[in-house]
């Protein structure tokens, strides 16, 4: 199976490399045909232009394709006919007629696990179809006044895979979390208070930071982590109820955020192949104190700069409990510690390159079995290259470093290293006038993937306006952490169909 996985990954890279080679060949052909090489360019142009003084042959080559009243008119007429036909046959496609302000999407997400071993009789079988999820998402937008907007977004989904699985192997909680879901997504009222101030209240998603893949300052919204690498980007961030006040002056924007709804990321439920432990963990405690954030964003010619400060709860919980004389700490709850985050981010453009960076200082970190607070410094540096026609390549490296580290943090249950490196690479290449897209996204955890890695390789095709189909493969590779060992057999094929209206 490893060989198969590697084969698929290298096939992806081969396709990419093959594209580049093919483009190189096209260049040679172009240079040969049109004489554009630097050494011969001037001569060839002169030859080309000289030809115009001796009527027709070369001139026709240049002018051909439109209406051309000369002896080559037969061939040119053929080309011209094409223009006329296309003009007469073009009509705007009919689209679904909906009430003003209403839009949405519907579709199905499919996942098929092929690498899982046969389970013990009393354990769930993680082989075969793991997801056959139908969904419907509806959005409604209503402008109360020219400067006041009401927006509501809801999504309902049902996973048919559990009709075919052995339901008795799953807990009620698990089925409730995975089989059917109704989610009130972004729902807010926004208005402008004068010419330079905006107010927005309700469930919202607010993205901080410049990095695309490994942001360390994007701390306001939790994320859906139930299937690492397989969540649709539209659904990955979870909205929370907040009030936002934005003030704009010149090139600057001041963003104040008060988060009323304390909500944490969706983690794999006990019983899932992505769950962290063999046994069910203790219940999660949800704190209630309001979270705050402030950002100052500047946009300038060729570069952007932002500063951030936030007081938020750590999305990643830790086990806490009472001390037992024989057992030590007996974890009876998952708690989330209050963090103080201060950070900055920049992006700058140079030619076809965009360089992005983020730094954050995190205070208030705590770990199981440790009573003291730790602090951490997080960094991200990345670049995106868009000099590839209809393609883009980006990579980011994140480095987290814990101050006043204690070696026992490396032991279970924390399994925390002082220095953690994560690398992400994304490549996208569009074909057929952007109807077909080949994309690769790869993560490496630890230096050179020592703590595990994953690759998602896929194709997306726009079948028609608003109708998209896609599919691919998601690979997990084992590293030196217990979690990477746990999920290494979760490789899967996936397919999606989405109709937007």
């Amino acid at each position: 199976m490893r060989t198969f996985q590697k084969g698929v990954f290298w096939l992806g890279l081969f396709l990419w490399a093959g594209t580049a080679v093919a483009q190189g060949e096209s260049l040679d052909e172009l240079l040969e045909g049109f004489g554009d090489s630097p050494s011969s360019q001037q001569e060839s142009v002169d030859d080309l232009l000289d030809g115009f003084e001796e009527p027709e042959a070369s001139t026709n080559d240049l002018l051909g394709g439109f209406e051309e009243p000369d002896e080559n008119s037969d061939a040119l007429d053929d080309l011209l006919d094409g223009f006329e036909e296309s003009s007469s046959s073009v009509t705007a496609a009919e689209s679904l007629s909906l009430p003003i302000g209403l839009s949405g999407s519907t579709g199905i997400n499919i996942a098929y696990a092929y690498a899982q071993p046969e389970p013990n009789p009393d354990k769930p079988d993680y082989r075969g179809f793991r997801k056959l999820r139908l969904y419907l998402q509806l959005e409604y937008q209503y402008n109360l006044t020219p400067s006041t907007l009401f927006f509501v977004d809801g999504k309902v989904s049902r996973d048919l895979a559990y009709q075919f699985l052995d339901r008795e192997k799953y807990s009620e909680e698990y089925l409730q979390a995975y089989e059917q879901e109704i989610e009130l997504r972004e729902t807010f009222l926004s208005t402008s208070l004068g010419s330079d101030t905006d107010l927005k209240f309700g469930r919202q998603i607010k993205v901080w930071g410049k990095a695309d893949l490994l942001s360390v300052v994007d701390v306001l919204n939790p994320t859906d982590n139930r299937e690492p690498g397989l969540i649709d980007i539209d659904d990955s961030r979870l909205p929370v109820t907040m009030t936002q006040l934005d003030y704009y002056t010149g090139d600057w924007n001041l963003n104040l955020v008060i988060i009323h709804e304390i909500r944490f990321g969706k983690s794999p439920e006990f019983g899932s192949e992505f769950y962290f432990l063999d046994a069910e963990g203790p219940a999660e405690e949800i704190p209630t104190e309001t979270e705050y954030g402030i950002a100052l964003n500047g946009h300038f010619t060729g570069w952007d700069l932002s500063f951030y400060a936030a007081s938020v709860y750590n999305d990643q919980g830790r086990a806490d409990g009472s001390f037992q004389p024989m057992l030590g700490l007996f974890p009876d709850r998952i708690v989330h510690d209050r963090l103080q985050v201060v950070g900055t981010a920049f992006s700058t453009v140079e030619g076809s390159w965009i360089v992005r960076g983020e730094i954050a200082d995190v205070q208030g970190l705590r770990f199981t079995h440790f009573s003291k607070n730790f602090s951490r410094q997080d960094h991200v540096l990345g670049a995106e290259y868009s000099g590839i026609p209809d393609g883009a390549l980006s990579f980011e490296v994140a480095w987290e470093w814990i101050r006043e580290f204690e070696p026992t943090l490396e032991d279970a249950p924390n399994e925390q290293e002082q220095s953690t490196v994560t690398t992400a690479i994304r490549f996208q290449q569009d074909f057929l006038n952007q109807t077909l897209s080949f994309n690769v996204i790869a993560f490496q955890f630890g230096e050179f993937g020592s703590s595990g890695s994953s690759q998602r390789i896929g194709l997306d095709y726009d079948w028609a306006d608003g109708l998209n189909v896609g599919g691919g493969i998601l690979l997990y590779h084992e590293g030196d952490t217990s979690y990477s060992e746990r999920i290494t057999n979760n490789d899967r094929l996936f397919a999606d169909l989405k109709y937007s209206f």
Binding site: F52, S105, T301, S386
Partner: protein, 265 residues
Amino acid sequence: MNKWKILILGAFLVGVSPSAWALTADEIMQRVNDREDGDNIVMEMQMVLINKNNEQRVRRMQQYRQDKGEDSQSVIFFEKPADVRNTGFLTYDYDDESKDDDQWMYLPALRKTKRIAASDKSGSFMGSDFNYSDLTSYNLSDYNYKLLKENDKVDGSDAWVIYSEPKNDEVKKETGYAKSVIWVRKDNYVVVRAKNWVHKSPDIKFFEFKDLQQIEGVWFPSEIKAQRRFGKEVVHQTILRQQNIRLNQKLEDSLFSQRRLEQGL
């Protein structure tokens, strides 16, 4: 304005010369470049993308553009298809040749405005047969021009035929075109046809600017046809229709901002 607008989305102004018959190619292109095109413009655009199987896709968008001193700013809001609705594209186009344009794109799926590298304009705009370079300005001085034909006819109007070639490979790479032939109407200096050789490709793109209409003294094509051909085969084509064109409107500077980009129309 010192730059030559390629006229895909821009204005087409009248500027008749009393000595038009004597102009060189450089002088003609300078006059194309020098035409007044209004302080700002608002228009609705519909692009019909047609593949070789005659399957069609439709893109609808609203564009606002204004001059800002020697520079220009534009913002495009996408309305259709549904999967790109509310995507916004903001460009600050600088006259200074040493400065790259600033470009940002708002992606509603990400809820995020991303800066985009603007120097390479050879990519397809929304899957159409227009490159990004067709939508922004060129530096006149980046090209060599030669008058190929003093007299040609396009839709019954007299036109010059001018050969244009970038002076270096960098411009070819950035624009995506190795060379061009341009038809300029003699009575109004409007580019009515262009034939562009795609850089690093045997394909050629044919542009036709149809149904010229004059709005507040400015000439606009109601329809622009772009065809990409490999030999005689039409690989793909795009019909761009410009509707409800309004010039010299009262546009606030705040329209051309990231704030507005994220708010949408």
